[in-house]
């Protein structure tokens, strides 16, 4: 992949200046940039290092004085980070999956593959599965019975899609991601300790031991367009109706989405997040890494959870939350500052008690 500065600028809708016929074949950080690379210096502090590398051209912020940096050409972006989306897509060499159907793949004759679908070595595609045109099914993937995947999908190695799952267009899944496993739903013949503890907020669970009976997951999973799912992440099927994920949601690695959950559109779910069963999450929500949301809650639109935040009750739209249990971020920061000063407060109060009980000895 080699492009001239002019070609890149045109593709991204950005302004290029200088010798725009210089060709580049890779992106690089300024200090490591080879002569045929495009240095990325989104902010002035990164631009200092351009001289340490061999870059002739760079992507810079709007208004940058590229000539003074010793460059011969530049692409200028008002929001360079956003420009990285298009630029990185142009430069991505990918995983090298071959076109066509690998002869070692096991594909049920009743499966329907659209035009130009590629299926990697040792993949398994089940009966009546449907895969949209232009999709890439990586090695060792498994697509279940009657599952549907839209056009332009990219499933990396070892992705598992369960029976009857329905996924929209342009789905991307990293290795080991699983959509449509059974939900975690068990019930005891008599009310269990958990049910009692929830009812009484902490009353001890002393009832007779019971075994757990399995509630099967009869629902599926329905996923919109432009969704991504990270390494070894999982979205469980619903109990009666489908678990649902809206258009444009992005899930990082090792995420757990429980049965019956409904997630709106354009949410960002960071690594190791867990969302428990039947919770409803709005649009444009961001769940920070390792955060968790308890079951049967409602999280409003545009809510942001900081890293490792644990939500145990509903959160209204637009809130930024932090901590365990989650508080509004500013209240959390104030409380935790206070927590650090607590030992001193105890000493102050001890002193005050002494002073108040012996007013004369106030030294």
């Amino acid at each position: 992949m080699s492009y001239t500065i002019a070609e890149i600028a045109a593709a991204l809708g950005l302004r290029a200046e200088g010798e725009t016929d210089i060709a580049v074949s890779c992106l690089a950080e300024p200090a490591d940039c080879p002569a045929d690379g495009l240095a990325l210096a989104m902010k002035p502090e990164y631009a200092q290092q351009i001289g340490q590398g061999a870059a002739r051209a760079a992507m810079l912020w709007d208004g940058a004085d590229w000539r003074s940096l010793g460059l011969r050409a530049a692409i200028l972006a008002v929001r360079p980070r956003y420009a990285m989306a298009g630029l990185s897509a142009m430069m991505d060499a990918g995983q090298g999956y071959a076109a066509g159907i690998h002869p070692s793949a096991v594909i049920d004759p009743s499966a329907q593959l659209g035009d130009g679908v590629s299926v990697g070595p040792l993949a398994v595609i089940g009966a009546q599965a449907r895969i949209g045109s232009g999709s890439v099914i990586g090695p060792h993937c498994q697509i279940g019975w009657q599952a549907e995947i839209g056009s332009g999908a990219l499933l990396h190695a070892g992705v598992r899609i369960g029976a009857r799952v329905r996924i929209g267009a342009r789905f991307i899944a990293q290795p080991g991601a699983v959509v449509g496993a059974d939900g975690f739903s068990f019930v005891t013949p008599e009310p269990s300790g958990v049910e009692k503890a929830r009812a009484s907020l902490g009353g001890e669970g002393t009832e007779a031991p019971q075994a757990w009976a399995r509630i099967h997951s009869l629902g599926g999973v329905r996923i919109g367009d432009d969704v991504e799912l990270g390494v070894n992440s999982c979205i469980d099927r619903g109990t009666v109706r489908d678990t649902e994920v809206g258009d444009g949601c992005k899930f990082d690695n090792l995420v757990q989405i429980g049965h019956n959950v409904r997630i709106g559109r354009d949410c960002l779910i960071c690594a190791q997040v867990g969302v428990a069963g039947s919770t409803v999450i709005g649009d444009n929500v961001v769940l920070g890494g390792q955060s968790g949301v308890s079951d049967n809650l409602v999280i409003g639109d545009r809510v942001i959870l900081g890293g490792a935040t644990v939500v145990l009750s509903n959160v209204p739209a637009g809130r930024v939350m932090l901590g365990y249990p989650a508080m509004k971020m500013d209240a959390h920061i104030e409380s935790y500052k206070a927590l650090r000063r607590l030992p001193r407060l105890f000493r102050d109060v001890a002193f005050l008690k002494k002073a108040v009980s012996n007013p004369g000895s106030n030294d």
Copy 2:
């Protein structure tokens, strides 16, 4: 799958009323229920929506006035949630795994498969492995050398069972679950910073850097009957003796069980829980989602950990715990209420200090 109301009621040991020869072929939430579905309305508040759907029959709570809901038949259950276990099992269409041994599976000639075992495409079964009758081994599963799995197992796609692991009857494992990988056990030639920090509760670790030597896991994993393991969850092998899981334990997705752990019977281990090495967990314990238990601890019978609770010391039987570090749930709730009011307390104490040091200016 189509059953009459009478057939379902008989199978579940429940009472049916009305036109019990009506046949249903699926379960549905009341508002979405088609005419050939059985609406599920376990509580009066859900029953309001029956009129929005087309249900002719419903599963209701004991004593429900089904006629007034516009239904023609009903199944009545004292504990409808428990009835869902049997009902959902009857209605589960499953993953559609085919019977028999798929020709692409790689099965060592010394492996022993019981009657009616089904092995999916591209599965690998190792030397001297033994699989009980009626088990289903899904696509891409791998069963290790001398591993034993009891009868009636259901291993979904991509499950890995390590060498010499022994598992009881009716085991269910979701995609990507791993039993019997190596434990995480490393040691430095001289005592490490971690050992020193534990001994001194926080003394800084300033010793010379050392490399980690691996302690191999010679033990296996022994799992009882009726155990379930979620997506991409893992139970590591023991160092010298086996890691042990009792009958009836259910593990959700992305759970980590360390080497040498012993878990009693009928425990419920929710998603993303971690149990560190050599910890002993009693019977009927419930570990909430994202909770963690440190190593070498003892957790008593019937303990319940709320979501994201982190246990750093032993917990007596019957306790309900919450927080980090874990406290009894009621103490935790009281402490966190206080935490939120802390900033006000600081202001109060500052006022008091001023008042006590200047008693005359008490305004």
Copy 3:
């Protein structure tokens, strides 16, 4: 595997006493030890149980009076836990992977395999991949295009190595581990709620909804020698440069390492840890189970994080940290003791306020 006591002592460089020609074929805990086993009793309290088993020989601490324990031979170690490293390696029966290339493996003709490489059933090795001599590639593994793995590697079942990843010698990966999936990097056309919340530390995110554009991961992953990676753990590729892991690092199960992260040498990363993008971690760092480190931070050499600690700011070298957000361990312990006593403090302050406002009624 059977060795005499003398052979074991010689291999480990330890002192043996008594009938050192006794042969043992397994290791065992004292109470369970068969006659042909070597009992492990690293501390005096474990030695009490030797009489309950049938051990004739044991590994004991330096100076142990083994004759009084009824033994006929003993191996004595100043640091028995360290001796376990060598001893367990001698006794490890392993997973039984066969030598040679299994005929069902799919290996690109342009891949280069060193001498004595073994490739398991149904593994996939991509174009121009290079695998060092003596490596074992387990069943269902997948090695990507142009990926390089050093000599003496052991990849258990279902490990995925992405395109252009470079790994040093003696790499060990447990089932389902993934190196070199795409990083989680998305950007909105205009600054998003997250960017605003970070800038304002908690200002609510009320801007217009936007969709997320993907930033592709053009960098790879570069891993040193003697690194281990646990079950279903993942290390993502960098955006422009490589994600880097130094020699001797050990990662437990279900760990997430984000894009661009740099980790030094000889770090211990316990189960379910998450390290967010672009964070730099020093040498000899220990991250306890379920701990998390936010993005773009610097964690100094020899830092230790206790279990479930969440780091939201830089940590200087040598610190031992605990809690959420992380504090120095001793400060954290003091603060949490205070937290438990908070309700009492509130009562004290309420009393003081009353006493100060009504000085005469001080009862």
